[in-house]
C-alpha cells in the first residue's frame, strides 16, 4: 500500500484506474507552481477523486489523456506528476491487446524507477497574461 501511494498520475498505464492520494499542493512555493496546482484542483483533482488514464501519446506516453469525474483532460508529464495516486486496478484493462501492453510497458517508465518527488520536473507556468 505504501509503495503504491507514491505513484504519480503519469505512472498509471492505459486503462488503469486510480484514486487521488495527494492533490497538488503549493509546497514548492513558486507562483507558477501555485497557479498550476490551483488549476488542477479547480478542474477536479482533489483527494479521493477517481482518475483513469485513457490514452497516452507517442513517444514516452507524454502527454496523457486522463478522465477525472466526467471530464477528460490532456496533461503533459510535468502536470500529471503534480498529482499522486493510489492505483485501484492493478493491471492494464483486460480489453487491451497483449501486444499493446508490451508496447506501453516499453514506452512508459516503470513505476519503480520513478520517484515523483525526486524527478524535480516542474512546469514553467507563465506569469499571468501580461499583454491582455
Amino acid at each position: 500500500m505504501t509503495a503504491n501511494d507514491s505513484l504519480s498520475l503519469f505512472d498509471l498505464r492505459i486503462g488503469q484506474e486510480g484514486k487521488v492520494s495527494r492533490a497538488p499542493t503549493t509546497d514548492s512555493g513558486s507562483a507558477a507552481d501555485r497557479e498550476l496546482a490551483l488549476r488542477l484542483v479547480e478542474i477536479g483533482f482533489i483527494d479521493g477523486e477517481r482518475v483513469r488514464v485513457v490514452a497516452r501519446a507517442h513517444p514516452d506516453g507524454d502527454p496523457i489523456a486522463v478522465r477525472v469525474g466526467n471530464t477528460m483532460f490532456a496533461l503533459r508529464r510535468c502536470e500529471a506528476e503534480q498529482v499522486l495516486v493510489a492505483p485501484l486496478t492493478s493491471d492494464i484493462d483486460a480489453r487491451q491487446p497483449e501486444r499493446m501492453r508490451a508496447a506501453i510497458a516499453a514506452a512508459a517508465p516503470s513505476p519503480a524507477n520513478v520517484n515523483p518527488s525526486a524527478t524535480g520536473r516542474r512546469c514553467a507556468v507563465p506569469a499571468r497574461e501580461r499583454r491582455a
Binding site: 496546482a37 484542483v41 479547480e42 471530464t71 477528460m72 483532460f73 512546469c123
Partner: protein
C-alpha cells in the same frame, strides 16, 4: 426614462464546452454583433432579444472560463467583466451561469465562485436532454435551495430550448448593480473546500448513474492512438482539402456562369465607352473572379466548424503535442493554427488561449504560413489553369493533390520557422498543456449554419467593399492615360498600372513574374485574393476582345510559362502581403517589432522560394 424601457444587461458565463455559445445563438438568433473589448482583442459577442412581454435584454457572451482565477487572456476578460473592473464595459445587471447538466461536478464550482460576488444570478442547466438520456435525475427545487438562486433547464440545440430561461427572465427584476469589487484570489484550501461543497450539493440534489464512457473510450482508443490516430488526422485533413476542390466545382460553375452572363448582358446593352469598360472589365471581371471562390471558402469553414463542434480538434492537439513540442510549440497551438487555414486573423486572435507568452508569440509568428482561404482563389486559379484535371490512382483528383501539397509546404515551413524561433526565444522548463478533451458530440446543424452564414457575410462584404473599391482603382490606373493614337500594343501597357508594373518587373523578373503579375501583387497587399481580381482586370483590359471576363484561366495558361506559374504558387505559400494580418499582430503583440519581423521573414522566404522554384522549373522544362 423609466428603467423598464432600458435594456437589461445580461451576461452568459460558463465553462468552456458547456454549450454557452449555442445558447447565445438560440437567444439572440441573428441579432449579434462581434467586436472587441476596449483595448484588447478578445472577441466581444453581444446580441439582443426581447421577451414575449416586451422586456428587452442585451446579452453578452463571455469567453468560456474554468475559474475567475484567470489563467489566460480570455478568462481574465470574463473576470474583469463580472467584477465590473474592465474599463469601458459596464458591469452586467444579471449573470446567467450556463452549466453542462451532464457534467455538474466540473461546472458547479464556477457557479459557487461567481455566487460570492453577490450579483443577481440564474443558473441555466444546459444539455438537459442529454442528461435525461443518460438517466441523470436533477432535483431542481433541491438544487435551487442549495444554491440559493433560480435554476432553469435549457436545451440550447433545440428550438424553444430556452423557454424556461426566458420565462424566468420575465420574472427576474434585478436590484441595483452592486459596486465594482475586488476579488481576493483563493488559496488551494479554499478551492478544495468549494469542491467539497460541490460534491455535497450534488449528493443532495442529483442522482447520477455511473457515466457510461464505453463508446467514447472505444472511439478514443483509436482516435488517440499514436499510429491510428495520426492516420485518421492525416486522412481527415486530406479529405478536407479534396472536398474543397471536388465539392465546390458545381456551385463554382454556377457563379461563373452568372458572372459571365452578367458581363455579356452589360457588354451588349451598354454603349461602347468608359462606363462599359468600368462595369465589364473593372467590376464584373474583377469582383466576379473573387466571388467565385465563396463555395470553396464555405466548404473549408464547414469542416473547421464541424470538427470543432464534434470535439475532435482538442484531440488533434493532443496527438500533435509532442511533435509541436519539438519545435517549441504546444498542442494548444494547433487550434489557432488550424483556424489560420481559414484566415490568419481569427487564428492570431485564437492564440490568446495559449497561456505561455512565448508559445503564443511563436504561434502568432507562424500563423500566416498556414494557407489561409484568401490564398485559395490564387491557388485555385493557377492550379485550374496549369494542372490537368485528371484522376490519380483511381480516386485522387490531381488538382486536389497539388493543393494538398501546397498546404503541406506551408505547414512544414511553419514548423521550420518555429524551430528557428525556438533557438532565439530561449525557453526553460516544459510548459503546461492542460487541455479539456470534451465528450464527442454530433455537430449541430443550426450552429454550423450560423457560423457559415457569418463567414459568407464577411466574405461577401469584403468583396463588396474593399475588393470592389480596389478593383475600381485598379481599373482606373489600368485605363488611364489612354494610349497614343499610333499605339501598337494593348492599351494597358501605356497606363499608370502598366508603368508601375514595368518598374516592379525589374524586381520580380528574376523569379519569373511578368508585369501583369507585378501589378496584381500591389493591390494584393490589402487582401491576397484581390490579386486574382487584379489579374482578371489587367488581362481583361489587355485583351483584344470583350468576351474575356470569364476566361481568365485559359488566357493565363496561354500567356505564362509553367515555371512562372509554379513560381507564383511558391510565392503565395509565403506571401507576406496581408496588411490586416500585420495590423492584428501589431495589436496583439503591442509592438511594431513583431509585425515588421514577420513581414521581413515572409518576404525573404517568398522571394527565395519563388526564385528557386522558377530556376528549377526552367531547367526541368528546358525553358
Amino acid at each position: 426614462m423609466s428603467s423598464a424601457t432600458l435594456a437589461l444587461r445580461l451576461a452568459l458565463l460558463g465553462n468552456p464546452n458547456c454549450g454557452k455559445t449555442a445558447l447565445f445563438n438560440l437567444l439572440t438568433g441573428s441579432r449579434q454583433k462581434v467586436a472587441n473589448y476596449p483595448g484588447v482583442t478578445v472577441d466581444r459577442k453581444e446580441g439582443q432579444f426581447t421577451t414575449p412581454s416586451g422586456k428587452h435584454f442585451r446579452v453578452l457572451d463571455l469567453p468560456g472560463a474554468y475559474s475567475l482565477n484567470a489563467a489566460s487572456a480570455d478568462e481574465q476578460i470574463t473576470r474583469e467583466v463580472v467584477l465590473g473592473t474592465l474599463a469601458g464595459e459596464e458591469r452586467p445587471d444579471l449573470i446567467v451561469c450556463v452549466s453542462d447538466a451532464t457534467n455538474l461536478k466540473l461546472n458547479l464550482r464556477l457557479v459557487l465562485e461567481v455566487r460570492r460576488l453577490g450579483l443577481p444570478m440564474v443558473l441555466a442547466l444546459n444539455m438537459t436532454d442529454l442528461a435525461k438520456k443518460r438517466g441523470i435525475e436533477i432535483d431542481l427545487p433541491a438544487l435551487q435551495r442549495e444554491l440559493g438562486m433560480p435554476v432553469v433547464e435549457t436545451v440550447a440545440v433545440q428550438r424553444g430550448g430556452a423557454s424556461a430561461l426566458i420565462a424566468r427572465l420575465e420574472a427576474a427584476l434585478p436590484a441595483e448593480r452592486p459596486p465594482a469589487t475586488g476579488w481576493p484570489s483563493p488559496d488551494i484550501a479554499e478551492v478544495s473546500a468549494t469542491q467539497r461543497e460541490v460534491r455535497r450539493i450534488l449528493a443532495a440534489s442529483v442522482r447520477e448513474p455511473a457515466l457510461d464512457t464505453r463508446v467514447d473510450e472505444r472511439i478514443d482508443r483509436v482516435v488517440l492512438h499514436p499510429v491510428w490516430g495520426m492516420l485518421i488526422l492525416a486522412a481527415t485533413l486530406f479529405l478536407m482539402f479534396q472536398a474543397v476542390f471536388s465539392w465546390a466545382s458545381l456551385p463554382m460553375e454556377w457563379i461563373k456562369a452568372a458572372v459571365g452572363a452578367l458581363g455579356s448582358l452589360l457588354g451588349e446593352r451598354l454603349p461602347d465607352g468608359i462606363l462599359r469598360s468600368l462595369l465589364v472589365d473593372g467590376v464584373v471581371a474583377g469582383v466576379g473572379s473573387v466571388l467565385i471562390f465563396l463555395p470553396q471558402i464555405l466548404i473549408l469553414f464547414f469542416f473547421i466548424l464541424a470538427l470543432e463542434d464534434s470535439g475532435y480538434l482538442p484531440r488533434a492537439a493532443f496527438l500533435l503535442d509532442r511533435l509541436m513540442g519539438k519545435v517549441g510549440l504546444s498542442g494548444r497551438s494547433f487550434i489557432p493554427l488550424l483556424s489560420s487555414f481559414a484566415c490568419a486573423i481569427p487564428g492570431i486572435l485564437a492564440a490568446r488561449t495559449v497561456a505561455n507568452w512565448r508559445d503564443r508569440l511563436a504561434t502568432i509568428m507562424i500563423a500566416p504560413l498556414m494557407t489561409c482561404s484568401a490564398r485559395l482563389p490564387v491557388y485555385a486559379l493557377i492550379i485550374g489553369a496549369f494542372i490537368p484535371d485528371t484522376t490519380v490512382a483511381g480516386v485522387f483528383n490531381l488538382q486536389g493533390l497539388v493543393l494538398f501539397f501546397l498546404y503541406v509546404v506551408g505547414v512544414v515551413s511553419a514548423l521550420a520557422v518555429a524551430g528557428v524561433l525556438k533557438l532565439t526565444l530561449s525557453r526553460g522548463a516544459q510548459h503546461p498543456l492542460l487541455l479539456e478533451l470534451p465528450a464527442y458530440r454530433w455537430p449541430h446543424a443550426r450552429n454550423l449554419m450560423i457560423g457559415l452564414l457569418e463567414r459568407a457575410r464577411i466574405f461577401v462584404t469584403r468583396v463588396g467593399s474593399i475588393i470592389l473599391a480596389l478593383m475600381v482603382i485598379l481599373w482606373f490606373l489600368s485605363s488611364f492615360p489612354a494610349p497614343p493614337a499610333d499605339a501598337s500594343g494593348p492599351a494597358i501597357q501605356y497606363s499608370y498600372a502598366g508603368m508601375l508594373g514595368r518598374a516592379l518587373e525589374v524586381v520580380f523578373a528574376p523569379i519569373g513574374f511578368n508585369w501583369q503579375i507585378s501589378i496584381a501583387l500591389v493591390p494584393g497587399m490589402a487582401a491576397r485574393e484581390v490579386a486574382v481580381g487584379a489579374l482578371g482586370t489587367v488581362y481583361a483590359l489587355s485583351a483584344a476582345g470583350n468576351d474575356v471576363s470569364e476566361q481568365l484561366a485559359p488566357m493565363l495558361a496561354a500567356d505564362w510559362s509553367l515555371a512562372t506559374a509554379y513560381a507564383l504558387l511558391a510565392w503565395y505559400v509565403y506571401s507576406p502581403q496581408c496588411l490586416s494580418t500585420l495590423a492584428v499582430v501589431r495589436r496583439e503583440t503591442n509592438s511594431w517589432r513583431y509585425p515588421l519581423l514577420m513581414a521581413g521573414y515572409l518576404f525573404a522566404l517568398a522571394y527565395a522560394a519563388a526564385f528557386v522554384t522558377y530556376r528549377v522549373a526552367l531547367l526541368v522544362t528546358g525553358g
